[in-house]
Subunit: 209 residues, 2 copies
């Protein structure tokens, strides 16, 4: 881990089953943090998929070939990575650490597996699980999209159930009853994490100065 | 400690050197918590000092004779106690635990010694240190009261310096730049502490229900 005495950004990882409203929450959270002049940085993932129109290297993603990606895996340059629909996605270690060292907070959206790997690598990171109010409500939200087959819906729900089993591994759990409440709860978590004495090692010297 | 699985109140202990504005902060905090319909309870201390006009048993304090107080100490019925100006003051174990079991949050104002004793007895409690922005500012605040001799002021400052050395033993430190900001920071700490997964053991069952 980075030196604890160094003033540095907070690493926040957010997970939650598909259909929980996690995407909307994160978008709204980042907007609220930007408006409040928080020092926040969006860290792009490394990916092997092709850039879509408008996507820029180092902004949307770090685009790499499959060989380059696997080379990064071998060199331990990715904190975690995953294969999804034939493409690879990973979290670049160097960029993440440089961003935190620069004092910027980083918010990552990861599945359970990715989040727990990041927590292992960075014990000072904060991992937050966004949970649906109930499975019944989760089903309602997924079904109301009206875009998926019964089979796909059942698959999503059974995956959600699997992910929910990992709630206890997380630092915090926020039940997403409303986007605004959830965003303000996560903002509170960020505020209070920064008030922890373990993150304010230099405070005594600062007061005495 | 009380069974972690049991839905119970949060025990918050606040310390801070004299002159930090701790008293004003706590008053304003309790007011804001009452207004927000939080389930909060004021826990009176046990004391051997005589009731003043208007003070009521069980509301202002639990009034006891010195013998009764010492009997409580012997029976381990006080979590911590202190002698101050010839009178004894202590935190009653049974009343505290019953209040928490009833699901009510308890806020206590304690000196460093008391706070650390409570944290030892209740590791799930949250101890918060309210710090002055600087020693210079602390001196200014104490001097601006205009009620104390130079000698008394120096004594307060040297006591403050002693207490500040214990900051790192606390869970959180809030620098009191303004009462409103400090109260809202402590409110955030309370909100986020309640979102910790370790305090939400039953959540998975609740979602699945």
């Amino acid at each position: 881990m980075l030196a604890a005495n160094y003033p540095q950004g907070l690493l926040i990882v957010i997970s939650g089953p598909s259909g929980t409203g996690k995407g909307t929450v994160i978008k709204s959270l980042i907007k609220s943090l930007c408006n409040s002049n928080s020092h926040i940085s969006i860290l792009p993932s490394v990916t092997t998929r092709s850039p879509r129109t408008g996507e820029r290297e180092g902004y949307s993603y770090f685009f790499r070939t499959k060989d380059e990606f696997l080379e990064m895996v071998r060199k331990n340059q990715l904190i975690e990575w995953v294969e999804y629909c034939g493409n690879f996605y990973g979290t670049p270690r160097e960029q993440l650490e440089n961003t935190l060292k620069a004092g910027l907070d980083v918010i990552l959206e990861k599945d359970v597996d990715g989040a727990l790997k990041i927590k292992m690598a960075y014990p000072d990171s904060v991992i937050i699980f966004i949970a649906p109010p109930s499975l019944k409500e989760l089903r309602r939200r997924i079904e109301s999209r009206g875009t998926e087959s019964t089979d796909a819906i059942e698959k999503r729900l059974s995956r959600a159930l699997e992910e929910l089993e990992y709630i206890r591994e997380y630092d915090y759990v926020v039940v997403n009853n409303s986007v605004n409440e959830t965003v303000s709860a996560i903002n509170c978590i960020i505020t209070s994490e920064k008030l922890k004495t373990k993150r304010n090692n230099g405070i005594l010297e600062k007061i005495k100065r």
